[in-house]
Subunit: 446 residues, 2 copies
C-alpha cells in the first residue's frame, strides 16, 4: 500500500535533523494523548478514530440519501459556514471537472454554497438563478442559530416551499445538526426532514469525515467509501509508522522546529489548481487550531505556477520568515501532449511530445531549488494521485498532524475562543435581544 | 464627485499620527517622481498617466474588437499569466453575476482563462469542454515565449484551427503583445491577427488599464470607458488632494509606518466575495513590487465573513504582527430583505425586515472593533458602489499607492528580479537549448 509521503530534505539547510528529532518523543506522546483523549481540549477529539469508527451502515445511509436527492434536484445548495462549508468544498473542488458548471456530461447535481457569507448581492443572484432550477438544500449547523447560515436558510427554505410546495420541500431538505437539541434539530423533527448528526465531540474544522462533509461530497458524485478508506489508511499508518517515516509526526515536528527558528509564515503551495480549496480548508484547520495566545504559524496559500508570477517575487526575495509546504500530485488523471509546431516561433519544440505534466514537474522542482537557494525551507507532500482515497489520506494526515503540532506548541488545538469577539460585537450593534448591555456599551464607543 | 475613501482612525492606537505624517513630504516627493519619471525603475512608469493618456479612439477600437468577438463566440479564452491574467480576472469577477456560468440571461461570452498554470488536467478539461463550444482566443504575452501561455496557446490554436478552419480561426484570435518584436508579434503579423500593443513602459502588474485588461473586460460586457474614467478620476484626485485626504498617499504612509512597528503581514479583507480576485491582483501588485532585498510586507487576503470562521481566530489572537485593510462596498447592487418567520426557532426575527447588507455592515464594524481590541490595526477603504467607475478608482488607487509605498520602502517597485530564478532552473531541468551549462550544473546537484 502506497501512502502520501512527506519529504523534509529541502528544509535541512535551515533546521538540523536534531532540531526536528528533538520532538520525536513528545510528538509520539501527543499522538497517544489524542487517541486516549488525555490532552488539552479532549472533549473534542472524536475525529481521531472517526475513519475506523464510521460504519458501513452509516455510509450506506448517506449514499442512499444522496441518491434520493440526485433523483430530484439539479442543484444542491449546501448551507453552512467554516467547517460546515470548507471540507465539502475542498473535496468537491478537488475531484470536480475544472469547468463543472459547463460540463453538461455530468449527471450529478451541481453543489452550490450559501450561508458562508452575508453578501446581499450573492444571495440575490443565487436565489435569482435558482428560480428556474430544481434544487434542494443541505443545511448544516449545530445550533441552527449561526447568523450567516440561518439567514440563507430562511430565504432558501421559503423559496423552495413556494416553488415546489411544503410537502415536496420536506423531501428536498436534509439537516445535519445536533443529535437532540437546538433550533435546527427542533425544526427538522417538526418538519420531518431527513437528518444526520454532527457528533458532539467533533469540532467544525475536524468534521469533513462526518456527514457534514460526506453528504455533499456524495451528492456531487464522489466515492465517500474510498475517501473514508483513505483516511483510515492514514489513521493506521500514523499510529504504526516510525517517526522518520511518519508523515504526520514529521510534519508536526518540522514545522515547529522551523517556527522556533523564526519562520512564522507557512505557505501551502500546489501545482494543481484543483487543490486550491484544500488549502482554504487547511487554513482554517491550522489557523484556528494554533493561532492563539499570541502565537502560531500564519497560514497562507498559493496556486503554482500561477502565483509564481504574483507571490513568486516575494517568496524568492522578501522577508525571510517564511517556509513552504508543497502538495504535489504524482500522476495527473488525464493526458495531454505538447504538439510540435513547424514554425516554432515560440521556441517550444524542445518540449514537443512531452506531457504537460513533465513541464509542471520540472517547474516544481526548479522552484523548490530556487526557493531553498533564496532562503525558504521547503517541505513536500506527495500524493500518488488526486482521487478520493488519497484525498482521504491527505485530510486525515493534516488533521492528526495538526493535533500533534498544536500540542507541541502547547495550545489547545480544539477551541476557538477568538471567534466569538466579532459575533458579540455584531449582536450588540444589531441590538439582538439579550445583548442590551453590550448594545449600550458599543454605541457609547462609536 | 464622490471618491473611494480611506479611513485610518482604527490604526491610530498602534501608530501615532506623527509616525504617519512623517512620511507626508517624502510621499508627495515620490508621487512627483512617479509623474516625472525620475525615481527608481523609471523605465516602467508608463502606467502613471495611462488613464488620462488613453484616447477615445483606442477605447473605441477595443470595444469594436470586443463586439466582433462577441458576435462570433460563446467563450473567449484569455491566455496569459501574472499581470496578463490577474487584472482582467479581478475586474471580470468583481462585475460578473456570482453564478456567471449558470446565468443563461447573459448574452456576453463567458471569459475563461488558460496559460496561467501548467496543469495537465486543467488543460485537458478545458479543451474537452471547448469541443462543443464556439470559442475565440485572446493571447497576451510580451514575448510570446513565456512557457505557461505558450503551451496553452499552441494547444488552443491548433484546436481552434481544426474546429473552424485556419481562416476563421484568424478572425477569432486577438494577440496583445509587443509593438514590433517577439514571437507573438511575428506570428500575429504573419497570420493577420488583430493585435493590440502592450506599451514598453508598463510592466505586467500595472497593465490592467492597457488592452491587456481592457479587451477581456470589454468582451465580458463591462463598460471599459467608465473603468478608465474612474481611474482618471483617481489619477487627478491623487495629485490634487491634500495629504490627509489623499487615500493613496495616506495608504502608502500608514502601511510603512505600521511595517516599521513590526506589522509585517497585511491582510486585505472584503465583505463581498466578488472582490476575491481584486485581492489576488493586489497580492501581485504589492508582493512583486515590495518583496525584495529581504524586506516588504507579506500580502495575504481573506473573504469575510466566510473567513472569520477560518482565519478569524488567528487574526483575533495569533502572532501580533498583522494589520488589516478592509475594502467595504457602501451600497449593494441588489436588494434582499430578511423574511419574518412565525415560529422563529432560529431567533432571527429581530432581523426580519432588515436588508441582508445591514447585517453584513454590522458584522464588518463589529469585526473591526474586535480586531482592534485584539491588537490588529485596521484600515478601511470605502467604495461607494461596486461598478466599473469605482473599480477604476480602486485599481488606480492601489497602483499609485504602491509606487509611492515602494519608494518609501526604498526599493525599485517596478522590477521583479526574483521571478527569473525558478524559470532558469526549470529550463535547465527541461534541457532547453541554450541552457546546456545550467543543465549540467543542476543535474550534478540532484
Amino acid at each position: 500500500m502506497e501512502h502520501i509521503k512527506l519529504s523534509i530534505d529541502k528544509s535541512l539547510n535551515f533546521v538540523s535533523k536534531e532540531e526536528i528529532f528533538k520532538f520525536e518523543e513528545s510528538s509520539k506522546k501527543h499522538l497517544i494523548s489524542l487517541h486516549e483523549g488525555t490532552g488539552k481540549g479532549n472533549d473534542f477529539v472524536g475525529w481521531v478514530d472517526l475513519p475506523s469508527r464510521i460504519t458501513e451502515a452509516e455510509l450506506n445511509d448517506i449514499e442512499a440519501t444522496a441518491k434520493s436527492l440526485k433523483d430530484k434536484v439539479e442543484v444542491l445548495v449546501v448551507v453552512g459556514i467554516g467547517g460546515s462549508y470548507l471540507g465539502a468544498k475542498a473535496v468537491n473542488d478537488a475531484l470536480a471537472h475544472s469547468f463543472d458548471h459547463l460540463n453538461s456530461g455530468d449527471e450529478n447535481p451541481l453543489v452550490l454554497y450559501a450561508g458562508q457569507n452575508i453578501s446581499e448581492d450573492y444571495l440575490y443572484e443565487l436565489t435569482d438563478i435558482l428560480k428556474s432550477i430544481e434544487f434542494g438544500i443541505c443545511v448544516i449547523s449545530k445550533s441552527g442559530t449561526t447568523t450567516e447560515p440561518a439567514i440563507a436558510f430562511r430565504l432558501l427554505k421559503e423559496m423552495l416551499e413556494e416553488q415546489v410546495g411544503k410537502e415536496e420541500a420536506r423531501e428536498r431538505i436534509v439537516a445535519i445538526t445536533d443529535e437532540s437539541k437546538g433550533a435546527l434539530r427542533t425544526l427538522a423533527d417538526q418538519e420531518g426532514y431527513k437528518t444526520f448528526v454532527i457528533p458532539d465531540n467533533v469540532g467544525g474544522r475536524y468534521s469533513v469525515l462526518t456527514p457534514v462533509g460526506l453528504l455533499p461530497i456524495a451528492v456531487a458524485g464522489h466515492d465517500i467509501k474510498a475517501l473514508v478508506n483513505g483516511a483510515k489508511s492514514m489513521q493506521d499508518y500514523s499510529v504504526a509508522a516510525a517517526f522518520e517515516e511518519n508523515p504526520a509526526l514529521l510534519y508536526a515536528a518540522t514545522r515547529n522546529a522551523l517556527y522556533q527558528k523564526g519562520k512564522g509564515i507557512e505557505i501551502l503551495a500546489n501545482y494543481n489548481p484543483k487543490l486550491h480549496n484544500v488549502a482554504e480548508w487547511w487554513k482554517q484547520l491550522y489557523g484556528e487550531s494554533e493561532g492563539k495566545e499570541n502565537k502560531g504559524i500564519f497560514p497562507a496559500s498559493v496556486d503554482f505556477t500561477s502565483d509564481l508570477h504574483s507571490m513568486g517575487q516575494y517568496i524568492q526575495e522578501g522577508q525571510r520568515n517564511i517556509f513552504e509546504t508543497v502538495i504535489s500530485v504524482a500522476k495527473p488523471n488525464h493526458t495531454v501532449y505538447i504538439p510540435e509546431d513547424k514554425d516554432n516561433l515560440d521556441k517550444l519544440n524542445y518540449l514537443a511530445g512531452k506531457r504537460v505534466d513533465e513541464v509542471n514537474k520540472m517547474a516544481e522542482l526548479g522552484t523548490q531549488l530556487a526557493h531553498v537557494d533564496g532562503g525558504v525551507p521547503n517541505l513536500k507532500i506527495e500524493m500518488p494521485q488526486l482521487n478520493e482515497f488519497y484525498l482521504g489520506e491527505l485530510l486525515y494526515f493534516f488533521e492528526i498532524a495538526c493535533g500533534v503540532s498544536g500540542y507541541i506548541l502547547d495550545v489547545n488545538p480544539f477551541d476557538q475562543p477568538g471567534v466569538e469577539a466579532y459575533k458579540s460585537n455584531m449582536f450588540a450593534l444589531l441590538e439582538k435581544p439579550g445583548f442590551e448591555e453590550e448594545s449600550a456599551k458599543i454605541k457609547e464607543r462609536l
